[in-house]
């Protein structure tokens, strides 16, 4: 009960924009949630602490918290946690200057938001992604995103936290596409929404105005606005906004006019450059939430996510490398009837390891399909080597028996495989190879064979 109240208090503090207090109070609630193994509450604490660090512009701490948040989210995160995590992750990538990763993360956050019917986060994400897409000149997609944001906004009450947060993204989007009329209309609506919170948001609004001024050719005005923002934020050292200003000053070649160039350069030198490489947060590219591979990724770097394996196979095919696709499957139905799923997974884990030990003697990449299924792609392997490998795996794994107090149960293994040269050249693709390997596995399984020769 105590923690529930604390979380509620945290939520209220955040709504009132008392970010310093959110951090202080969150840092008290977080350890007690973790001590009591209340991971759902701990995840909410991380969400608020990370968001608060972001709002006050403390980029280093934001990233540190995000890394911890990610770890807990992988193990205990529900769809809501993942939705928020990906949203914050997308912000970190924007400031780490990895816009492609930011776009990927935003799309994932949107999907979770759709699943949970959270129109608020859909709106915020669409506004943000519109700004990012406009920044990389994908104006058509940006326009669609912005219109979708407006569409989902209809479902929200007029004064809403999501509208406030989304408005900043919308302002940047409109500034980039030089739509002054819509910019000032949105700004007015934004100001009406935030009323007493205006001083906090004034810096972001000024920054967006500076961007708009530059884009519509008012360079002097733009420079003066950048200077005003700089003056406002240099006291509080909002590093996130400082990074933004620095990026703009550099890109717009305003260094000579901008009177704080030296100070800003000093600040940027003092920043830990490595931290800015937000690739530290790996969930986006490796997609650990969607693939149950986390444990093995560390021990076996060639055990990769689906996204990575598709990319790898596409590369190999485009480089005209011939490769084997192998699927395997342990039949665990009997085992699952006897034992609980977690125990079955524990039993299977060393068996997967045995497979890796044999397969990684070759140039292979592996992707885990489910707790009892996997796929491997191996290059530079001839037919004799394949059969040698299957023989080795058969020796180590075929019809393993698990003994328990009143008997024993077998865990048969089956394989399906295809070599890329067996398919017409124009049809070789990840999907085709996988489909044929899966079909081979199907026949091996239904005929209780180790594999079916094709």
């Amino acid at each position: 009960m105590k923690i529930t109240n604390q979380i509620e208090h945290l939520r209220n503090l955040y709504k009132e924009l008392k970010f310093e207090e959110v951090i202080q109070f969150g840092m008290i609630t977080l350890p007690s949630s973790l001590d009591e193994k209340r991971y759902t509450d701990a995840l909410i604490c991380y969400e608020y602490i990370a968001s608060a660090y972001f709002e006050i512009g403390c980029f280093e701490n934001f990233l540190v918290v995000m890394k911890e948040y990610e770890k807990l989210c992988i193990t205990y995160g529900n769809d809501h946690n993942k939705m928020v995590f990906y949203y914050l992750c997308s912000l970190s990538h924007v400031f780490g200057n990895d816009l492609e990763e930011s776009i990927k993360a935003t799309k994932k956050s949107i999907r979770y938001a759709h699943q949970l019917k959270r129109d608020g986060l859909i709106v915020i994400n669409y506004c943000n992604i519109a700004a990012i897409l406009a920044l990389i000149n994908q104006f058509e997609q940006a326009k669609i995103a912005m219109r979708l944001a407006n569409y989902y906004k209809q479902n929200l009450p007029n004064v809403n936290d999501a509208i406030v947060r989304g408005s900043t993204g919308a302002l940047f989007y409109l500034a980039i596409i030089k739509d002054s009329e819509e910019f000032y209309k949105t700004k007015q609506e934004f100001l009406q929404c935030i009323t007493e919170k205006q001083p906090f948001y004034s810096k972001v609004i000024l920054l967006a105005e500076a961007l708009l001024a530059f884009n519509i050719g008012q360079v002097q005005q733009s420079n003066s606005l950048f200077e005003q923002v700089y003056q406002k934020i240099k006291v509080g050292k909002n590093k996130i906004l400082l990074i933004l200003i620095n990026t703009c000053i550099e890109q717009f070649k305003l260094k000579e006019q901008f009177q704080y160039t030296n100070e800003l350069e000093q600040f940027m030198k003092s920043m830990n450059k490595d931290l800015l490489k937000s690739a530290n947060i790996q969930s986006v590219s490796k997609d650990v939430f969607l693939d149950n591979i986390q444990a093995n990724t560390f021990k076996y770097p060639n055990v990769v996510s689906k996204e990575s394996i598709i990319e790898y196979v596409d590369n190999m095919i485009s480089q005209k490398n011939a490769l084997y696709c192998i699927h395997w499957c342990f039949v665990t139905k009997e085992l699952e009837d006897l034992f609980e799923t977690q125990y079955v997974e524990q039993l299977l884990f060393p068996l997967f390891e045995k497979i890796y030990q044999s397969i990684f003697k070759y140039d292979a990449k592996v992707h885990v399909l489910s707790k009892n299924k996997g796929e491997a792609f191996i290059i530079n392997m001839n037919e004799a080597e394949l059969y040698a490998l299957l023989g080795e795996l058969e020796k180590n794994l075929h019809s393993l028996e698990i003994y328990y107090s009143t008997g024993s149960v077998k865990i048969p293994i089956h394989f399906g495989f295809i070599h890329s040269t067996k398919l017409p050249e124009n049809q070789v693709s990840y999907d085709q190879l996988v489909a044929f390997a899966a079909a081979g596995l199907y026949y091996a399984k239904s005929h209780e064979q180790l594999y079916i020769e094709s």
């Binding site: 799309k107 949107i110 999907r111 979770y112 759709h114 699943q115 669409y126 058509e140 997609q141 669609i144 995103a145 219109r147 979708l148 407006n150 569409y151 969607l290 693709s429 990840y430 999907d431 085709q432 996988v434 489909a435 044929f436 899966a438 079909a439 199907y442 026949y443 239904s446 005929h447 079916i452 094709s454």
Partner: protein, 213 residues
């Protein structure tokens, strides 16, 4: 959504041009596909959406069913049969023939609504629920390789898979017979939602599929 799909798996004999158009739409309208849940993302999902898109955007006289695929994919065949029975307002139907984007959005929303209702109803029948889950496990890839002639020596056809598909397809027919009305509402709701979101993003729909000036 899977962009790398094989046109040979479509329930219709589809031209390269039309197929490329669909693949282009997957990229162009990616944001609209984000309403599809992660766990439903699969090769077969994309294929069903292609089937529905082609069905909506092509006049009946111009559609040629792929006979081979009606045998390989009986579940998809019946899914499509249900979609065919949906009522569409005349001006939307006319627009669908002209406007591939609108047809794409309608296909996404119809798939989402139907898949939800079918999954709910399948779960109610214990005997078929397991078969339905088993069939979903095959949805990651094309099923054509299972029917490849090289396996004839092993088995005439993939018997186990065929039994699962047949059980699920039969249940789907029974579900539709029992819940015709909810299916019809869901269909209308899907077309409505898709049209609304289309108009919000691309402009008003008129009966030749373009924007109202």
């Amino acid at each position: 959504m899977h962009a790398k799909i094989d046109k040979a798996d479509c329930m219709f004999l589809i031209s390269d041009e039309k197929f490329n158009q669909f693949q282009q739409l997957i990229k162009e309208l990616e944001f609209f596909t984000l309403i599809l849940p992660f766990d439903k993302e699969s090769y077969q999902q994309s294929m069903i959406i292609l089937d529905i898109w082609y069905l909506l955007s092509t006049k009946e006289t111009d559609r040629i069913t792929n006979p081979e695929n009606t045998m390989i994919y009986p579940y998809r065949k019946y899914f499509l049969e249900i979609v065919k029975k949906g009522q569409i307002k005349r001006y939307i139907q006319l627009a669908l023939y002209e406007n591939e984007k609108l047809a794409f959005l309608c296909a996404i929303y119809i798939f989402k609504e139907f898949d939800t209702i079918i999954s709910e109803k399948m779960a109610l029948n214990e005997d078929v629920a397991d078969q339905f889950i088993a069939l979903k496990k095959y949805s990651e890839n094309s099923l054509r390789p299972y029917f490849d002639p090289k396996y004839i020596e092993v088995e005439n056809y993939p018997r186990q898979l065929a039994l699962i598909q047949s059980a699920v397809a039969t249940e789907l027919q029974a579900i539709y017979q029992k819940f015709k009305l909810p299916f019809s509402w869901k269909f209308e709701q899907a077309i409505d939602e898709a049209s609304k979101i289309y108009e919000a993003v691309f402009g008003l729909i008129n009966d030749w599929g373009g924007r109202v000036p």
